[in-house]
């Protein structure tokens, strides 16, 4: 159990305020947020590499807040691997073992075997890091971080500088390792899909604060702030203040509503969705996998708004849509989110 309690950090003018995190043993927590939100600073302070102003960090019941990094048993892996260039892969992986007080050789030997197998490192053990690809280097870095049974493994954007296909492989390996070794992991990323695949729990970080915590599903379905909604893909967010409009959405006070672009239906005839509008197609953008369509309402009883909608290319060609074409569109009540300011 890791407990981060009321953590405050100040780095120059950048401030991180009141961070509270709880991670159960063996859990995979992802700190998700845009770059420069302060995610890396949070994990570096958990590792003891950045001093904190106040707060508490408790790992398995032990207060580590003022311990030096080497006394915490928390290891860290970075985006840029940081292998020791003067050591062979084998020595890189085993580096941490020479500082271990307990000499459970059998335990670490078993870890070594497991990691070599899961990360497919057998072939490159005698090589120097200089001759390895990015993916291989990150695998070595993960093995190095995991071999000594850390209480927590911190991962700082570990997949961000890898080629897409390698990234998928390593992401899968990471999941396997987590399931095999049950290490508690805190990972930082700005990529929602990584969080979606790996995380047991997500903490959304924005401007040096944790703005929402929960399961990925919880955050995806019930974002509690405009930032969270935007970050998880709500392209259509509107502020409602007119009584008439509020009434039509069943609201009493001014609030924001949000709808995902993939939840907007487009038809040539009136449709049966709960909310429906008449409009025209303002612009079309082919994103390769899907079509991004900008719609503008044309019926006079509602105020003029533009919506973004996604269609699969198949569906798009089926509907035979063109720019400026008048259409009907709408969405269901269940897909709508309401954010109260």
């Amino acid at each position: 159990m890791i407990h981060v309690h009321n953590l405050d950090i100040k780095l120059g003018i950048f401030e991180i305020k009141n961070i509270n995190l709880q991670i159960a043993k063996g859990e995979f927590l992802v700190l998700l947020g845009p770059s420069a939100a302060g995610k890396s600073v949070i994990i570096e302070s958990i590792a003891g590499l950045i001093p904190i102003i106040h707060g508490k960090i408790i790992v398995n019941g032990k207060d580590v807040t003022y311990l030096k990094p080497e006394k915490r048993n928390i290891s860290i892996c970075y985006q840029d691997y940081n292998l020791f260039p003067h050591m062979k892969v084998r020595d890189n992986i085993c580096y941490g073992l020479r500082f271990k007080k307990d000499k459970h050789h059998a335990k670490y030997a078993k870890n070594f075997k497991t990691l070599i197998k899961l990360l497919e490192l057998e072939e490159i053990l005698e090589r120097l890091p200089l001759n390895l690809s990015g993916g291989e280097q990150q695998r070595v870095s993960l093995a190095r971080g995991l071999i000594g049974n850390p209480d927590v493994l911190l991962l700082d954007e570990p997949l961000s500088s890898l080629d897409p296909n390698i990234k998928w492989t390593i992401q899968e390996e990471l999941k396997n390792i987590h399931q095999t070794m049950h290490t508690t992991i805190i990972m930082v990323t700005h990529d929602f899909t990584e969080a979606n695949y790996l995380a047991d729990k997500v903490a959304l970080v924005h401007d040096g604060q944790v703005v929402q915590q929960g399961t990925i599903e919880n955050i995806f379905k019930h974002p509690q702030s405009i930032f969270a909604a935007q970050f998880t893909g709500f392209k259509n967010i509107f502020r409602l203040s007119k009584d008439e409009e509020l009434k039509s959405f069943g609201l009493k006070q001014p609030a924001y509503i949000g709808i995902r672009p993939e939840n907007i239906y487009i038809r040539h005839q009136p449709l049966t969705a709960y909310y429906q509008y008449r409009g025209k197609i303002n612009s079309l953008k082919n994103n390769g996998i899907y079509m991004e369509i900008e719609l503008i309402t044309t019926d006079t009883k509602n105020s003029k708004r533009s919506y973004i909608s996604y269609l699969t290319l198949n569906r798009f060609f089926e509907l035979n849509l063109e720019k400026d074409m008048p259409i009907h569109f709408g969405f269901d009540k269940k897909d709508l989110i309401v954010i109260r300011p």
Binding site: D80, L130, G145
Partner: protein, 268 residues
């Protein structure tokens, strides 16, 4: 085929100026050899005065380099890793000896070491003689060459990413273990070339040394004395020997510092 592409203008200029520079550097040194004959040269090789002055130069420069290393490395590491308000000021203060003419530096040191100053008095009371001794020579050499070592080591440390140290710390190595096992190993080549420059700077120092210690004579002082009292003919054989020894040592150290470069490179 070879001349199918016209060379770029800047490369032509570089080639021309390069030839001038090399000529400017090497010709005076080679030309010295024409001013003497092998017989005198061999005789000078067994001239005890010459040999002991060269030995003294090498010894003092080496001790200076070791002291500069021990004093300079911790500070260089700190400066490479930290940003703070007065950093630029401190860095400028460290480099000041580089811009002071060497005789001026010698006189500044003399005012400190003379019995009229607190430091000089303290040294005298403890029977430590600096003026006219090897200690004086080393102090002069250290003053003018230490900045070179600190600057070189600082640059070498900056090449080692702080994150690699973070990883080492998080894996259980304390600060000293991380410094010795990772940072120093990855920056030693840069530090070593800084030491070579420091050593070379020390062995070539003359202005500051003669003010603190004309005797015992280091090689440049001896050559200067022979030149002013007996003229070119007597100065040149010792001159040549000093040139040869300096170049040999320089080449050996350079080879040592370049050795193993292909093995790994922290800057990749």
């Amino acid at each position: 085929m070879l001349f199918r592409f016209k060379p770029e203008i800047i490369y032509i200029i570089a080639a021309a100026t390069g030839i001038i520079i090399l000529f400017f550097n090497i010709f005076p040194i080679i030309n010295t050899f024409y001013w003497t004959d092998s017989e005198t040269l061999i005789k000078t090789l067994f001239d005890r005065e010459v040999l002991s002055s060269i030995w003294l130069s090498i010894k003092c420069a080496s001790i200076t380099t070791i002291i500069a290393f021990l004093l300079g490395i911790p500070l260089a590491y700190y400066l490479a890793r930290h940003e703070f308000r007065l950093k630029t000021l401190i860095e400028s203060l460290i480099d000041i000896p580089l811009v002071i003419p060497h005789t001026v530096a010698g006189i500044c040191l003399l005012t400190v070491l003379s019995p009229r100053s607190i430091v000089g008095r303290f040294l005298e009371q403890n029977h430590i003689e600096t003026l006219g001794t090897e200690i004086g020579i080393i102090i002069a050499m250290l003053f003018v060459s230490m900045p070179l070592l600190i600057d070189a080591a600082k640059d070498a440390f900056k090449w080692v990413p702080p994150r690699i140290e973070n990883v080492s710390r998080s894996l259980g190595a304390n600060q000293v273990q991380t410094f010795l096992g990772i940072t120093f190993v990855l920056s030693w080549r840069g530090i070593l070339s800084g030491m070579i420059i420091t050593w070379a700077r020390s062995i070539s120092e003359f202005g500051a040394v003669i003010i603190l210690a004309y005797h015992p004579m280091i090689a440049p002082t001896l050559i200067y004395e022979r030149f002013t009292t007996y003229g070119m003919k007597y100065a040149i054989p010792a001159n040549i020997i000093l040139i040869i020894i300096s170049i040999i040592i320089f080449i050996v150290l350079r080879l040592v510092s370049l050795g193993g470069k292909e093995k790994h490179d922290s800057r990749s």
